[in-house]
């Protein structure tokens, strides 16, 4: 079974102190597909997502149990360096986070430059490639050296995506990437997801069920820290097996 998927969790549990935030979730992440995690607020979907690239490591009260496999290898194994995991599994957050002291260009190549890539030509190529992938190149190509904080919210979020893509991750985790954006910026990012999945595996947490239905190939429904149902997206939205899934997607709670 191992290695069949790009990523896979096995009986993954996350505890916040005594609170059992994620309860024994086993979930496959298919290679170069978009997997959406949906569920009401507090259902553990963000907590689950952050466990995939060890973002909980810095919080001493959080404990993670179970396994998270990346290409068949447990990212929580003692000999694995979390820095290497995060290099392969990138993340985009709810709110855009441009580095405030840096220009647009410096932001995009931050992940390369700060690990020692100095070659100007290579950085420029990486920046253009990442910005094109994030559908931002045409808007910023003439002002690459201006401060990134001067961009609009939607542009800043696409910049955050470009920055994550520049280090060429295998998997990109997105935590409600459009929840702070207006509808037009949201549309831009959703369009972008469809083109990105040719190159990178995406796991996206979303509050917005229509968004999950529009962009994803697979959908996982979380409730109270448990994975209620996982299936192909059209199956989840047209013919869910679990009555709780049906109740949620038809808007009866959450």
């Amino acid at each position: 079974m191992e290695g069949r998927y790009r990523m896979e969790t096995q009986r993954l549990s996350v505890y916040y102190g005594k609170h059992h935030g994620v309860r024994g979730v086993s979930l496959p992440v298919h290679d170069r597909k978009i997997t959406a995690l949906i569920g009401p607020s507090g259902c553990g979907k963000t907590t689950f997502l952050r466990a995939l690239n060890r973002m909980h490591d810095l919080n001493p009260i959080v404990r993670v149990e179970g396994r998270v496999l990346l290409d068949g290898e447990d990212v929580y194994a003692p000999e694995v360096d979390p820095v290497v995991v995060r290099r392969r599994v990138g993340m985009v957050f709810q709110r855009p986070t441009p580095f405030p002291t840096m220009s647009i260009f410096e932001n995009v190549v931050a992940g390369l430059r700060l690990v020692g890539v100095r070659d100007r030509k290579r950085l420029m190529e990486a920046a253009e490639r990442a910005l094109r992938m994030a559908a931002l190149w045409d808007e910023v190509k003439d002002r690459l050296h201006q401060p990134a904080v001067g961009l609009s919210g939607g542009q800043q979020q696409r910049l955050s995506i470009a920055r994550a893509l520049a280090v060429e991750p295998e998997v990109l985790l997105m935590d409600e990437p459009t929840s702070a954006l207006d509808p037009i910026s949201t549309q831009a990012i959703e369009d972008l997801l469809a083109t990105l999945k040719d190159e990178v595996t995406i796991v996206i947490v979303t509050h917005n069920m229509q968004q999950a239905a529009r962009v994803s190939d697979y959908t996982a429904f979380f409730l109270d820290g448990e994975l209620v149902e996982f299936d192909r997206t059209e199956k989840i939205f047209t013919n869910p097996k679990d009555p709780r899934t049906e109740a949620y997607i038809t808007g009866r709670f959450g």
Binding site: M55, F93, A110, L114, A164
Partner: protein, 274 residues
């Protein structure tokens, strides 16, 4: 309560606020005014370019003290910046580190200690082993005064930097130290710079901790391993002397010191804004 009375009350309160502000600013203004009037006459070319003249002879200047102040204060600032910023980073970025309660305690106690005690510490740490007074020992004394100021300023401003920046850096696969060094500290540089300037202003005005460390030296020297003069030291020595001419120059030193610190503060503020 009717509207008219509310307006009246607002006026009265505003008046009180202005009065309070004036009560604070007026003494400050008089101090600066008095120092300026008394000191401006002493600031001639010789003041900046000549070593002191023997007592009673007249003339002479403050060159060794001006140079000494620069050298001692900058060494002190460099030393204090390294330790102060490092401690601030530890306190703000690693809040669960086992050293932190101890570090907080030491920093608070140090901030409350009389400045002359820092001179004593530097005397034991540097002057005794070296066998003689030196600008370096003075710089160590001043650095001890500056460190807690810088530590607190750094800790405070780092805690204001959004945690999202750290997370975004980590998510790029950057190690923690690199995130702090290249993302968090630059974002906080304005506040840290202000802290450094405050510390410099505080240290540059101290005479007491230098009495038995930098000691003073009537001859110009750039070597911090020798005894050095500084403006506050000179100000103290000249002010308690019986010579009219030295009193005049003490006022000049006071004015120069006040002006230098105000300029440093202004520059720090301007740097912070940009």
């Amino acid at each position: 309560m009717n509207l008219r009375r509310r307006y009246l009350r607002d006026r009265v309160m505003q008046g009180l606020v202005y009065l309070g502000t004036l009560a604070v600013l007026l003494p400050l203004f008089f101090i600066l005014y008095y120092v300026f009037v008394q000191g401006i006459g002493a600031l001639d070319l010789a003041f900046f370019t000549r070593p002191p003249a023997p007592p009673g002879e007249g003339g002479g200047g403050m060159l060794p003290a001006i140079v000494g102040s620069l050298v001692v204060d900058l060494i002190a600032l460099a030393l204090a910046a390294v330790f102060g910023v490092a401690a601030g980073v530890l306190l703000a970025e690693y809040p669960d580190h086992p050293l932190n309660p101890f570090l907080h305690l030491v920093s608070d106690v140090m901030a409350g200690l009389p400045a002359i005690l820092m001179g004593l510490v530097a005397f034991v740490l540097v002057v005794k082993p070296m066998g003689h007074f030196s600008g370096l020992s003075g710089a160590v004394a001043l650095a001890l005064i500056m460190v807690p100021i810088i530590t607190r300023a750094t800790e405070g401003v780092l805690k204001l930097i959004p945690w999202e920046i750290t997370e975004a850096g980590l998510a790029l696969g950057l190690p923690r130290w690199r995130v702090i060094l290249s993302l968090v500290l630059p974002a906080a540089r304005g506040g840290i710079l202000t802290g450094l300037m405050l510390a410099l202003a505080r240290g540059a005005g101290e005479a007491a901790p230098l009495l038995f460390t930098a000691f003073g030296n009537p001859f110009l020297t750039l070597n911090p391993l020798e005894p050095m003069d500084t403006l506050p030291l000179k100000l103290y020595v000249y002010a308690i002397s019986p010579y009219e001419d030295w009193h005049r120059q003490a006022w000049g030193a006071a004015l120069l010191l006040a002006a230098a610190i105000m300029v440093a503060n202004y520059l720090a503020r301007r740097a912070t804004r940009s």
